[in-house]
Amino acid sequence: MRERWPVFLFAVVMAVIPFIPGMPPFWIVLLDNIGLSALVAMGLVLLTGVGGLTSFGQAAFCGFGAYTTAVLTTAYGVSPWLALPASLVVSGVAAVLLGLVTVRLSGHYLPLGTIAWGLGLFYLFSKLEFLGRNDGISAIPPLSIGSLKMIDPGTIYYAIWIAVLVSALLTMNLLDSRTGRAIRALRRGHVAAEAFGVQTPRTKLLVFIYAAVLAGLSGWLYAHFQRAANPTPFGALAGIEYLFVAVVGGAGYVWGGVLGAAIVVVLKEVLQSYLPMLLHGEGQLETIVFGILLVILLQFAPAGVWPWLVSRLPFKPARKQSDTSIALPPRERPTGTPNVLLEIDKARKQFGGVIAVNDVSFDVQAREIVALIGPNGAGKSTTFNLITGVLRVTGGSLAVLGKKIHNAAPQEIVRLGVSRTFQHVKLVPDMTVLENVAIGAHQRGAAGALSSMFRFDRADEAKLLAEAARQIERVGLADQIDQTAGSLSLGQQRIVEIARALCADPMLLLLDEPAAGLRHLEKQRLAALLRQLRDGGMSVLLVEHDMGFVMDLADRVVVLDFGTKIAEGTPEAIKTNPEVIKAYLGAVT
């Protein structure tokens, strides 16, 4: 926990604040509001900033939390502390139901869907009889421990900020784990994550529930802080406001949520109390100024204030070295390995009228490097996508180790021992090389979200990181291990993809144009690495346009043209094959 010392420092400062002599009680109320808002924003950071799922509906989850405790404590006389789990469960269950519908939506449907049910729920809260309609529920009992009733803002302050700090720690722990990497990979599309075993729909639902439970917690605290609940703070505008709290602070950062809450709450307060005095204006002058300031702030810091602040810190947080001596158990390899690792039999893929892959058959043997070549548009990448389950075949069959893989999902293919790289690099640019590569080992770890939050995953996590570090060293990028993937050259990013694929401990490695963008020496190093892998028992299937590289390296070459296999054989035979020459250079007339 050494790297968490700034959090503990912050906690100490927050604990001391109410004891500062002459502290205006009103400031404590503001801090309470900041804390409540920060809790919701923290959930949004995970959901929107990190996971890429924009939600306008978080205020509705606060509503679930607040109304649950309001009804239970007023109508049924339940203790607030017993109502807490109920509040969290109700928010969580609501999130599961809404999430199952919404999380499936891709792209821009998702935020729009959340606006829709956010508004719908708001109107529902304000119409239901047992929730008190527009008046809401009042006379909610305060939180109490023994005889201490948390009525004044100074005592509930501790309940709120303990909740904020604990949530922040848990969220940071979650992000810094196997599940956290899966969440962070969501924003870059799901193809790469799924290729390494991440169950993206389940991961999306998880962050959705997580954010909702944090919002529910905030709602529960709110209800006992205000001692009343009415629909207004849970409406669409509140939902939007939480989103700007997160965006202003820095939607990609846990502490961005807290900072954003502080900025927005204080700004609104200052505007509300001083603007009318300054300008003697009437009406919603503060809203006007607030709106304009928001736009200006975004124009200056589109990524939020937190990253802007952090980049100005004089020191950089250091990562502790991973211990490369701990090892993950290797994949169970079949004894007496069958000779044929991958068998493609009359695979066919049609997109409407276009036949991208036309009854192609070939196989990859154990300890063999096979190259798949052909002019642009020959169907090479489509074949890769068929093998790895990204696309479904229209006809024919594929088998790995003699086992038919009938349109299996990408997550199952990688479990069978086939891992891949992509023609267009699919790394998460703001994650380090180490973290990106560790995604490759996702399906070799087991720690779930809960154990990660409470740090019971450290043994598992250390093994994954050690494996990642080892593969990075193997491909020769040890010096770049802590740099962000986006800062590397395109050639190096391709090598990072290879390290990530190796992390899955594959028997068959599929490489889509691995040498593109590499310099001569780098290509030689890559060829040497691939030979070494083959000699170690791995098979490689690669698509490549650099003929010198392919002909030097491959044991066997398969040539595609317009989706059809036109030749197969040793590099020497392919070089002189008239069909191949015709496909590449045109017919000699």
Binding site: T48, G52, T54, V101, T102, R104, L105, S106, G107, H108, Y109, P111, L112, G113, I115, A116, W117, L119, G120, Y123, L124, K127, R187, R188, G189, H190, V191, I240, L243, F244, V247, V248, A251, G281, E282, G283, Q284, L285, E286, T287, I288, V289, F290, G291, I292, L293, L294, V295, L298, Q299, P302, K426, P429
Partner: protein, 347 residues
């Protein structure tokens, strides 16, 4: 229920639906071209409606002054942007668009407000004022953010909505207003009575849809907008200025919004904050249309209007709940029909 009520509800629904259709079209247009989800669309509606109503009753609308102020800031920004490479012609053009035009309109508005302007003049002035506000809004708020993510644009959009709604209260007060009808004639067909106003709503909606269709299909600017919508980078590479596309989109959206407002203000009383809810319903239509399809958006808008009319008759308490939750089955169907395709967030 009898058939008269049924027909009446459908008629009411179609009238409202036509307005939602116009707004939905504008939202789709702006989103496709600039990636901005235009929350302030509702403010264009109220500004248009209340400017028209104020002018018709001989009051001076504050929106004309707002246009002058926004134009001045826009010109200042243009000057600042041109500090390195000074082109006299560009500056002159910016001066005309940002300073001269709003000043002339302000002068005209002051005159019109003093003389109880005839209805056509009031309509034209309201349209021009809101159009200018739309144009400057793009210049001030969104052009500097054009490269950022949809999320940031959205938050900026909410900021604009807050500011403009607050200004609306300042200009028009908290009381609602109604404007004079555009056409007084009425037509009776069986049990139904078509007022001239509702006929105008239908006519103008259809005319606008046809006009947009012609604009996008036949004119060079229309094609440039479509190109920008499909691929911004590609459009820039072939020489389309994406800034210009954004300006045109905002201009069209603000004119459509103002027009919708002018059309409904004789039928219902509008308050400074009514636009938001009306805009949201246009929004629902746009979402059902997937934010890309114009015809689907128009049909969806009619559906929203009809559902709203029926639910306000049978369960008026739950009217909004029904309208907004209508979306969820639609979204569900959409996501089942088209499984999530690969979408990568571009930086």
């Amino acid at each position: 229920m009898n058939s008269t009520i049924l027909l009446f509800l459908i008629q009411d629904g179609i009238t409202n639906g036509a307005i939602y259709a116009l707004l939905g079209l504008a939202l789709v247009l702006v989103f496709a071209v600039t990636r901005v989800i235009l929350i302030p669309q509702g403010e264009f509606v109220t500004y248009g409606a209340l400017t028209y109503a104020s002018l018709a009753s001989g009051q001076m609308p504050g929106t004309a002054k707002l246009a002058v102020a926004m134009g001045a800031v826009a010109f200042a920004l243009d000057l600042f942007a041109a500090r390195r490479a000074f082109h006299a012609r560009k500056i002159a053009r910016a001066f005309v668009v940002n300073i001269v035009l709003p000043s002339i309109v302000l002068a005209l508005t002051i005159w019109a407000a003093g003389h109880r302007a005839p209805i056509p003049l009031a309509i034209v002035l309201s349209l021009i004022i809101v159009a200018m506000i739309g144009l400057y809004l793009y210049r001030l708020a969104f052009q500097p953010l054009a490269h950022t993510s949809v999320l940031v644009l959205l938050i900026a959009s909410v900021g604009c909505h807050l500011a403009m709604q607050g200004l609306g209260l300042l200009f028009f007060g908290a009381e609602g207003q109604r404007g004079p009808t555009v056409a007084d004639a009425a037509l009776t067909a069986g049990p139904l009575r078509f007022t001239g106003q509702s006929l105008a709503v239908y006519g103008i909606t259809i005319a606008f849809i046809v006009a947009l269709w012609l604009f996008f299909g036949l004119t060079l600017y229309g094609k440039a907008l479509r190109a920008t919508a499909v691929n911004r980078l590609g459009a820039r590479l072939v020489g389309i200025r994406t800034t210009l596309s954004g300006q045109i989109a905002f201009l069209l959206a603000s004119v459509i919004g103002a027009l919708s407002g002018i059309l409904i203000v004789p039928i219902t009383t509008l308050y400074y904050d009514t636009g938001f809810l009306i805009g949201l319903k246009g929004f629902i239509a746009a979402i059902i249309g997937g934010l890309v399809s114009y015809p689907l958006t128009a049909i969806a808008a009619l559906m929203v209007g009809i559902v709203e009319a029926f639910s306000s008759f049978y369960a008026s308490n739950y009217k909004e709940v029904i309208v907004f939750t209508l979306l969820i089955p639609v979204l569900l169907l959409r996501s089942l029909a088209a499984p999530a395709t690969v979408e990568e967030e571009k930086d």
